[in-house]
């Protein structure tokens, strides 16, 4: 890389004439005008001695002389002193320091100029007070579109995963993956038919009932195999569990959890996370995406 750059710098003078800028060109033109004036004076003084046979060779040599002088003038004024030719000399060190160079595309950022600025300007009523409108116009659109993307990503993840039903065997503590200070214990906010802290759903009390209650065969197989796989391989406390033990386990089905998070200013804010896989769950049958299984007595 350094060798190639060194070779380029050594031989780049062959293009020096082509680097002549406006100032160098203007200077060269002035020089040409001066030489032409001088030539006219010479022609007038030597008009008697210069015969036509002498004049043409003389003219040709004069043309060569002028072009040579102009080239020298351009070369003297031209240079390669611009920033980008120098920036290349830092690249070898940059690669050593930060790794391979990335090939960026600025089209997205350039496109943002239209979506963020021009669209909102066109929508506004072009009053003097247009700046707040331009600034606030894009924010709700962005919020909605990002929420839509999040939902699509969740749906995609649900479809791709082998586990159609995620089971967290050891309860709420494991649901919050980090320290309990950052994430408080989840609170139940799911089905509407629970009373006095009792089991939320009268029909589904254990894992066997959940499987029996699932109408779709594929869905049932996915729940069963996914749960087994999770307990054996992915859970933090991996263990071997027989089918009878699994079927007898009590369930607690959540459709959403209330999470306490620390805000940017250090204040505590509760945020509702809905346990759903796709946007259309309300219009369809109830889906149990997150299920806490009571694994040991006394601990949920």
């Amino acid at each position: 890389m350094e060798d190639a750059l060194h070779r380029f710098h050594t031989l780049k003078d062959v293009f020096l004439l082509r680097r002549a800028g406006k100032k160098a060109m203007a200077k060269a033109t002035a020089l040409r005008m001066e030489l032409v004036k001088k030539r006219k004076v010479d022609e007038e003084t030597n008009s008697e001695t210069w015969t036509p046979s002498k004049e043409w060779p003389e003219m040709n040599t004069w043309r060569d002389y002028v072009s040579h002088e102009i080239n020298i003038s351009k070369e003297l004024d031209a240079n390669f002193n611009f920033a980008k030719i120098h920036l290349m000399s830092h690249w070898a060190e940059q690669i050593r320091r930060y790794g391979a160079l990335e090939q960026y595309s600025a089209e997205t950022q350039a496109h943002a100029h239209k979506t963020n600025l021009k669209d909102s300007w066109n929508v506004s009523n072009h009053n003097l007070n247009y700046l707040p409108h331009v600034i606030t116009f894009q924010r709700p659109i962005l919020c909605f579109e990002i929420r839509q993307l999040n939902l699509q990503a969740l749906a995609q993840r649900w479809e791709n995963s082998t586990t159609a039903c995620k089971v967290f065997p050891s309860g709420a503590d494991l649901a919050a993956p980090l320290s309990s200070l950052m994430y408080a214990k989840p609170e139940f906010m799911g089905p509407q038919n629970h009373h006095d802290g009792e089991h939320p759903d009268a029909i589904i009390k254990d894992f066997r009932a959940l499987l029996d209650n699932t109408q779709d065969t594929m869905h049932r197989v996915a729940i069963y195999s996914g749960t087994q796989e999770f307990i054996k391989h992915k859970s933090r406390n991996k263990m071997c569990m027989w089918d009878e033990q699994l079927h007898a386990m009590q369930l607690c089905i959540y459709h959403g959890i209330n999470v306490q998070v620390e805000g940017f200013d250090g204040d505590c804010i509760s945020q509702m996370c809905r346990c759903k896989g796709s946007q259309s769950w309300r219009r369809e049958n109830r889906r149990n995406d997150w299920v806490w299984v009571k694994q040991r007595p006394g601990r949920c």
Binding site: A83, I85, E107, F264
Partner: protein, 295 residues
């Protein structure tokens, strides 16, 4: 604002909103509408306004002001209304050379990494003899001293006087700009090289041959068939330059064939120079490097 660890596929789709608008930077009026006497004052005002706006934008991210900054991670309200655990780190960014210049408070046509003099920018710099790095801590002390000698020192290092948003940040600011292939090579040096070759061919009366060979480049993989010669294309973008770099050397070699003995050294130098720059570009595009490729 964007996130650095996104894949390029997601980054390049506007529908994924990988780039989020944070603030609208002020655009100053054009210099041609300002009298020459007031131009320097207006430029200084523009720089101050830009830095003040950037300071307002970056102020919430300064670690000193945040109470839980010691725990590295903290929850940040995202655009979708949810909180996410983030670690704000000021990384390098992508910008054109004039924008880097404005952000770093430097004069025009100056390297933003090192203190290379303006009249030596075109010279080859050996890796062991690099110029000293831009030291923004030194500039801050010179700026705070506020004496004539310090002002002269600043101007000798091509630095403007006045508040710069990066001066209070406790890091080596000159490491922040990232070298990018798009602006420096594809739309920068390769564009220059193309212009030089075009004028070179014109001077040596090889332009017709050059254009004919250019148009005859066949479609192959990502090379599209050519309908227009170089001079007929009004604007070149980075992608076209990248594609052009694959066949430019072959076109130049074929155009410079059948030369006279006097033309031989000149054409050879032109060919070797083109080859050197294109070879450097190809090496720079490597996804992994070792000492052999970098030397």
């Amino acid at each position: 604002m964007t996130i650095g660890n996104l894949s390029s596929k997601i980054c390049q789709m506007p529908s994924t909103h990988s780039v989020v608008m944070v603030a609208l930077l002020p655009i100053s009026i054009k210099n041609r509408n300002i009298p020459r006497k007031r131009r320097n004052v207006q430029r200084q005002t523009n720089r101050d306004v830009l830095n003040e706006v950037l300071w307002q934008v970056l102020q919430p991210l300064t670690f000193k002001q945040h109470p839980s900054a010691e725990c590295v991670y903290y929850n940040i309200l995202c655009a979708d209304g949810n909180f996410r655990r983030c670690t704000p780190v000021l990384p390098a960014w992508l910008a054109y050379c004039p924008e880097y210049r404005d952000l770093h408070h430097l004069e025009r046509h100056v390297c933003f990494w090192c203190e290379c003099p303006k009249n030596e920018l075109g010279n080859y710099v050996h890796p062991d003899k690099q110029h000293p790095w831009q030291d923004h801590n030194l500039y801050r002390t010179l700026h705070d001293a506020n004496s004539k000698a310090d002002d002269a020192e600043l101007s000798s290092r091509y630095v403007h006087r006045g508040f710069n948003v990066f001066l209070p940040i406790p890091c080596i600011v000159s490491f922040l700009p990232e070298s990018d292939l798009l602006h420096t090579m594809q739309t920068g040096m390769l564009n220059h090289l193309q212009k030089w070759i075009f004028r070179f061919m014109k001077t040596h009366e090889r332009l017709d041959k050059y254009n004919a060979i250019w148009l005859s480049v066949p479609a192959y993989h990502d090379i599209t068939p050519k309908n227009k010669s170089y001079a007929e294309v009004s604007q070149w973008n980075g992608k076209e330059m990248k594609e052009m770099s694959q066949y430019l050397l072959a076109v130049v070699t074929q155009s410079l064939r059948d030369r006279s003995p006097t033309q031989h050294p000149i054409f050879n130098h032109a060919f070797e120079c083109t080859r050197g720059l294109l070879e450097f570009y190809m090496y720079a595009r490597y996804k992994s490097n070792n000492d052999e490729t970098l030397s």
